[in-house]
């Protein structure tokens, strides 16, 4: 039995049309086409790696986990932002697959784009839990954990599944015309921390209340349409805006602190 994929005569083939450009050289851009064998389960990333292994090693791509977890393989596939590792060739149902760099991200080379601005927007949201309670960080005063009910967790859990892949940022029509707009990813993260009962920051709404801020969202919904993790950033943005408009009232009850007593004589004395 012939087991090598390349020699198999009955193998189905797909045409990959790959965008090529190198920022370091002023040689413009073009597309290269490759005929790649595939199976029902071959992903676009598998096909690109096949190209790199056997046809043209210079094609630049970025990837790591191959399982929709790291968020590094985002690219425009047949015109729509998708994760290459999460998109099967068979489900695209086209005979040619066009791979291009993510729009709204500066191109570095071929399919690799620059995420600096995207990450800066994320950072500007102060994406970490802020608490006024100094005992939480004071190791001399014992160890604490915060109590959250399953309902408390559900308020922000789905937004915390964001892998920062940038697909939503790439699909957003507002980002496409306004670089100062934080974008769906960052705004949804603002909601993620705003809704967290452990967070006590009073500045969260002010951060997004800007001429280029949350008000520029027109709910085109494309972010939620392309998100590969079910984060639904459009939902987070509208819920956050609901607080800003005063429709929803912020009646967040701060998470209760539980002292974890690691004293050996007293080891079941966790108290609320």
């Amino acid at each position: 039995m012939n087991n090598t994929a390349i020699d198999n005569k009955n193998e189905q083939k797909i045409t990959l049309k790959v965008y090529r450009e190198n920022r370091g050289q002023d040689s413009g851009s073009h597309h290269d086409t490759f005929e790649v064998p595939y199976k029902k389960w071959t992903t676009v990333l598998d096909a690109l790696l096949f190209v790199k292994s056997y046809m043209d090693p210079s094609v630049a791509i970025r990837y790591s986990c191959r399982m929709a977890s790291c968020g590094s393989c985002g690219m425009k596939i047949n015109g729509v932002p998708k994760l290459a590792c999460y998109t099967k060739i068979s489900e695209l149902e086209t005979s040619t697959i066009e791979c291009e760099p993510l729009p709204n991200f500066p191109i570095i080379r071929d399919l690799v784009t620059d995420f600096s601005r995207f990450f800066n927007h994320h950072k500007s949201m102060q994406p970490y839990i802020q608490t006024n309670d100094s005992t939480e960080v004071d190791t001399n005063k014992g160890t604490f954990s915060f109590y959250q009910s399953p309902e408390d967790v559900d308020k922000y859990l789905q937004f915390s599944y964001c892998i920062k892949c940038g697909l939503c940022y790439s699909a957003c029509p507002t980002v496409g015309t306004d670089l100062n707009f934080p974008g769906p990813q960052a705004l949804a993260q603002q909601y993620r921390y705003f809704a967290d009962t452990r967070d006590e920051s009073k500045k969260r709404l002010d951060i997004v209340d800007d001429r280029h801020g949350i008000w520029r969202c027109h709910f085109a919904g494309s972010c939620s349409k392309v998100c590969p993790k079910g984060v639904d950033p459009a939902l987070g943005i509208q819920l956050l805006r609901s607080y800003m408009l005063g429709i929803s009232k912020n009646d967040k009850i701060p998470a209760k602190k539980i002292e974890i007593n690691d004293d050996d004589n007293n080891n079941n004395s966790s108290k609320i």
């Binding site: 789905q158 029509p173 709910f219 919904g221 939620s224 349409k225 939902l235 609901s242």
Partner: protein
């Protein structure tokens, strides 16, 4: 290595991004249409103010301007205005609610295949209803203007 600056540096989709609503489902079509009809209504509104202001030049000026709407193209333009304003108002009311976080569902625990709560059938139906109302209003307008 020195990077070469080009106008395409940021690789932005730009206006072209929102002019092509075909890739992201109904919500993107609604966004595109709301804008298109909004801009169209703005143009109409300016024209309308100009039209009504012709009265200061006397009845003749007013009537000769009104003649414009009695032509074939004038009729077609008015039918477009009827359709655009119907869609824009109906969908606009839907958007007022969504922008306030109403009717979008609540966050939960996402599971494959990850259907986003905010792109639910209530919202899609709202868009379809706005489109159907606009078509019905245009049909009615057509009958009034061209009917015998």
């Amino acid at each position: 290595m020195k990077e070469i600056e080009r106008p395409t540096r940021n690789n932005l989709e730009g206006i072209g991004g929102w002019l092509n609503p075909s890739r992201y489902g109904w919500e993107r079509i609604s966004y595109w249409f709301q804008r298109l009809t909004g801009v169209f209504l703005l143009v109409y509104f300016i024209g309308h103010v100009y039209e009504t202001s012709t009265i200061v030049n006397g009845q003749n000026a007013w009537e000769s301007f009104l003649e414009l709407t009695q032509t074939l193209w004038g009729h077609l333009f008015l039918i477009m205005v009827i359709g655009a304003s119907t869609f824009h108002s109906a969908n606009g009311i839907r958007l007022i609610f969504t922008h306030a976080g109403i009717g979008l569902g609540t966050p939960g625990r996402p599971d494959y295949p990850y259907n986003p709560a905010s792109l639910n059938y209530r919202q899609k139906s709202g868009i379809w209803i706005a489109l159907i109302l606009a078509a019905a209003a245009m049909f009615y307008g057509f009958n009034v203007l061209f009917g015998v």
